[in-house]
């Protein structure tokens, strides 16, 4: 099997079905390292399903390769170790923002990643988050702030691939621009690949590659 070293994510003829309903039909896609890719389309078209398939949460036909490794049950653990995932509006049971940030760093796969308040605050400068948020309870911050906090966590994990589900759903246009600027900062500094499921115009306009998914009626 030939593999292009430049490619970070490769989808070959991927089909996702829920019972009889097909949501993704024979999709092929190559994503280079250091690219920002936007998966867009109307609500319910299958954007989140595609992200879930990449992480092995949804069954699919075809092939998905991350950094040359095929997504399958035999190597799903190594696949997931390469990914940082930011779901849409996650309600974590952690009481404080600090605990919420710390959670993924407590995992064995991320033990070697450097984590400190200073590093968090440095990331927050890009996302315009105030340092006082660090000491707050998770219930005291807004949905938009929570989304930006989770994005900074994904950045601090220093993974090869970041998957983000609707990062701007709770953000005003100004904050959406901050998120875009943060994505560019991550790509420039670490050559990370970012795949975003979003129908936000600013993200679509500023992505290196746009994949539009249409709702299938069969």
């Amino acid at each position: 099997m030939s593999f292009n070293i430049r490619i970070m994510l490769q989808l070959k003829d991927v089909t996702i079905k829920y019972g009889e309903k097909t949501v993704i039909n024979h999709l092929s896609l190559d994503v280079d390292r250091g690219q920002l890719v936007c998966i867009c389309g109307e609500s319910g078209c299958g954007k989140t399903s595609l992200l879930n398939a990449i992480m092995g949460f949804v069954a699919f036909e075809g092939e998905i390769l991350i950094d040359g490794i095929q997504v399958s049950h035999t190597n799903i653990d190594s696949i997931r170790r390469m990914i940082a995932y930011v779901p849409q509006e996650l309600a974590l049971p952690q009481e404080t923002v600090k605990e919420m940030i710390y959670l993924p760093f407590s995992l064995k796969a991320n033990h070697q990643k450097d984590y400190s308040d200073e590093k968090v605050l440095k990331e927050w400068e890009f996302l315009n988050l105030d340092r006082s948020i660090l000491e707050k309870r998770t219930t005291e911050i807004s949905g938009g702030q929570r989304q930006r906090v989770m994005l900074s966590v994904a950045g601090l994990l220093h993974k090869k691939l970041i998957l983000v589900d609707e990062p701007t759903s709770a953000l005003d246009p100004e904050s959406a621009q901050l998120v875009l600027r943060y994505f560019r900062h991550l790509i420039d500094s670490e050559n990370v690949t970012i795949v975003v499921a979003s129908h936000h115009k600013a993200i679509i306009d500023n992505s290196d590659q746009v994949v539009e998914i249409k709702t299938l009626n069969f």
Binding site: R80, P87, P104
Partner: protein, 280 residues
């Protein structure tokens, strides 16, 4: 000990009218189920009493062991029914965990704790049949095994419901952990923690007030039966310890054995919980 005759039992059962009255007045819809549960309890205990009398009279170790096995099957069935977990996924883990834990702890308690005083196991030698007859004697094995099963059942039902419902309800959180590199074991940890807290908090609270607020059943039973209170206390202490240990051990074993059965090869929870059937 004074034997309660049939009239005494009748007078005692009249007390049940009080909760039944309130359940009726509060329109809880529980009058029928309380009545049927009371009748079932009377019939079941009566039948079990007769059977235990037979067991105690014959007292053959392997018959007692088979009775233990039957009790384990019933406990497994009850756990499946009360947690609404599907038999195909949880039947084997529960059965293996209940049986092995109850056996290990029963043998430890009867063989070592009681055996060191009664049989002087560290000082005398026995034939294997003598030792098996002691370990699985109806007098010790049946009540201890039953007591352990009862406690394990309660804890497992509460903890397993919390655990599996938690993963199902907070699927996004579970996926967040997996998607950021967690192993399957790591991703289930927050849910295991919650389950253990919910199931063991009442046990710990009960232990803390034992003798002051809660008068333990074993101790009361022994004192009513004519035992010396100091002896009853020692038994009670040991009973609390072995039930606590058995509950924890069985829960960990059930969850460990269920990991492979209940999750697919991508680490996602299978459809292990049966949907509620509305009888109305």
């Amino acid at each position: 000990m004074v034997d309660i005759d049939i009239y005494g039992l009748g007078i005692g059962l009249v007390l049940m009218l009080i909760p039944l009255f309130f359940l009726y007045k509060l329109r809880t819809g529980l009058v029928h189920s309380t009545l049927s549960a009371t009748i079932r309890m009377i019939i079941q205990l009566w039948l079990i009493g007769l059977y235990l009398q037979f067991l105690f009279l014959s007292d053959v170790w392997w018959v007692n062991l088979i009775w233990g096995l039957i009790m384990t099957f019933v406990a497994t069935g009850t756990a499946i029914q009360r947690t609404r977990l599907k038999l195909q996924y949880m039947g084997i883990p529960l059965l293996v965990s209940f049986l092995s834990t109850a056996l290990i702890i029963s043998i430890y308690f009867i063989g070592l704790v009681l055996g060191s005083s009664e049989m002087k196991i560290f000082e005398q030698t026995f034939t294997s049949t003598e030792f098996l007859s002691y370990l699985f004697s109806a007098r010790y094995f049946i009540p201890i095994f039953g007591l352990l099963l009862g406690n394990m059942l309660g804890v497992n039902v509460l903890a397993l419901s919390t655990y599996f419902e938690g993963i199902r309800r907070e699927q996004q959180m579970y996926r967040y952990l997996l998607g950021n590199g967690a192993t399957r074991w790591e991703a289930t940890q927050p849910f295991m923690r919650k389950a253990a807290i919910k199931a063991f908090n009442p046990c710990i609270a009960n232990m803390a007030v034992m003798g002051l607020v809660a008068m333990p059943g074993t101790m009361i039973g022994q004192i009513l039966g004519g035992s010396d209170p100091s002896q009853a206390i020692k038994y009670q202490m040991m009973i609390v310890v072995i039930t606590f240990v058995a509950s924890m051990l069985s829960l960990m074993l059930t969850i460990f054995l269920a990991q492979k059965q209940c999750f697919d090869n991508m680490g996602l929870l299978k459809n292990v919980i049966a949907e509620k059937v509305d009888n109305k």
